[in-house]
């Protein structure tokens, strides 16, 4: 067994915490418990959530998480700890899906979103908070039914009302959206500008382009 490391109790800000941990956990024990709690929970666990619940300094938990993540990433491991929606989540590695399928029948096929639904979701992700009329305006189609589907699947949620005439409801993406799409946070989304470049590259005739004056792309936020 690994000797208990001399670890100054540091919190996130790098300051020593005054409270003594309730359980005296040595490093190996802490690591084991962190692994166990990530294994059992269905939602991504944030590092500070773990630290608070276990009454441990955030820095210590952070170190454990880093170590665990690295260990799971080794090629001879079938599981992986990924950072999703601001937390850590255990799952099988995508590359083994063929083999896993041989063991587990009826892997519930996820309801697939149609392209219009995905486009609407993308729009909301990049322009949030945004109202339904604004979504329809940009998409150029009457597709409010898509919004209902996204709400039903908890990929988007309401976010108050916009202070304009009629006070329309604002929508934003949810934590579930980050989970379903494996995103750490919204800033992990590529910027819209990158998609523009992509579109322009697919334009094969290399005609001189009048550089668009005002780049309409925004940073994801």
């Amino acid at each position: 067994m690994k000797p208990t490391e001399v670890q100054p109790a540091l919190d996130a800000a790098g300051q020593t915490t005054d409270e003594a941990p309730v359980f005296e956990l040595d490093y190996a024990q802490l690591k084991a418990i962190v692994e166990a709690v990530i294994y059992i929970t269905d939602e991504p666990l944030a590092a500070d959530q773990i630290a608070t619940a276990l009454k441990q300094p955030a820095a210590r938990v952070g170190q454990v998480l880093e170590e665990l993540t690295a260990e799971y990433n080794r090629a001879d491991r079938g599981l992986t700890i990924r950072e999703v929606a601001g937390g850590y989540k255990l799952s099988t590695k995508p590359e083994h899906h063929e083999a896993i399928r041989a063991f587990v029948k009826n892997l519930k096929p996820a309801l697939k979103l149609s392209l219009p639904a995905l486009e609407t979701l993308a729009l909301i992700a990049y322009k949030q908070p945004i109202t339904a009329p604004e979504v329809l305006e940009i998409r150029g189609v009457q597709g409010a039914g898509v919004l209902k589907t996204l709400l039903d699947r908890k990929l988007i949620a309401t976010a108050g009302r916009k202070a304009v005439l009629g006070k329309p409801i604002l929508y934003k993406t949810t934590k579930e959206f980050l989970v379903q799409f494996g995103l750490k946070d919204l800033s992990e989304l590529p910027t819209l500008k990158e998609f523009e470049e992509l579109g322009r590259l697919s334009l094969s005739d290399a005609i001189e382009e009048p550089a668009p004056s005002e780049a309409p792309a925004e940073a994801a936020e």
Partner: protein, 259 residues
């Protein structure tokens, strides 16, 4: 090269989708759209759709009008004086901006789809249920949206439910037995109703007395059971196992006794 119209009809999610497809398939420079030919192709598509009885939404018609309007503006000689004031505005500019924006989100949607594909083959097997007590396990994760849905569902149900109207004045014990039958019929056996609430719902003293007698009658005949969670707690009423069998008989006998 195949005709640009050699596509599966009605696969477009709106006019922007169709236009973008026409432009990209023919490798047209989006910043210099030959508006006349694109308009013609667009109208041909609409016509083909009409021939095949495919209903296109109003947005397709509106876009056709927009295209024709742009085309006519392109044909008009430009007034150099006006251009000085308003700036050299290309009549196509707004459409191009919308198309580019649309394309960006199409690409973003594809990116999301790719990400989703990866997620779909990464499986989790959380075991949290082993560590939850029974009561914690139940329940829904709720949002405002669920709240509105629930409200709508309740109103819908209320609208469709045949209401058993108890007249105020000459309400009788058999009336109240029928009333209780109505209240409990669709209730799961495990669910208890608050007796207090049932009483509060009555609009007259007489109705309350009849309800009280009806409850006593049904408890005695084992159609209902009384429950109480804690001492001095609210009295609840639940269906007895034999609810269905004993209720009819109770009613028949009460009709004779309480006339």
């Amino acid at each position: 090269m195949s005709s640009p119209l050699n596509f599966h009809l009605a696969q477009y999610d709106g006019p922007l989708d169709l236009l973008l497809d026409l432009i990209r398939k023919q490798e047209i420079n989006i910043y210099d759209i030959p508006i006349a030919s694109i308009t013609q192709q667009y109208l041909e598509y609409m016509q083909r759709a009409a021939e095949l009885d495919i209903e296109l939404s109003a947005e397709f018609v509106y876009m056709a009008a927009t295209l024709i309007h742009i085309k006519s503006r392109m044909l008009l000689p430009r007034d150099p004086e006006l251009d000085k004031i308003t700036g050299e505005e290309d009549p196509r500019q707004e459409l191009v901006d919308r198309l580019l924006e649309h394309e960006r989100f199409k690409n973003a949607a594809e990116m999301l789809q790719q990400k989703r594909l990866v997620e779909e083959v990464a499986w989790s097997n959380p075991q949290i249920n082993q560590f939850l007590s029974e009561e914690e396990e139940q329940g829904l994760d709720v949002t405002i949206f669920d709240l509105v849905k629930a409200f709508q569902a309740v109103l819908e149900r209320a609208k469709n439910r045949p209401m058993y109207e108890v007249r105020q004045d000459d309400v009788s014990v058999p009336d109240m037995i029928r009333y209780l039958e109505n209240v409990f019929r669709d209730l799961p056996k495990s669910e208890a109703l608050s007796a207090t609430e049932l009483f509060e719902r009555q609009k007259s003293r007489r109705a309350m007395i009849c309800l009280f007698l009806a409850i006593l009658e049904l408890v005695r005949r084992q159609a209902l059971v009384l429950t109480q969670r804690d001492a001095f707690g609210d009295i609840g009423l639940k269906k007895h196992r034999a609810f269905d069998e004993t209720l009819g008989q109770s009613l028949a006998e009460a009709e004779q006794e309480y006339i």
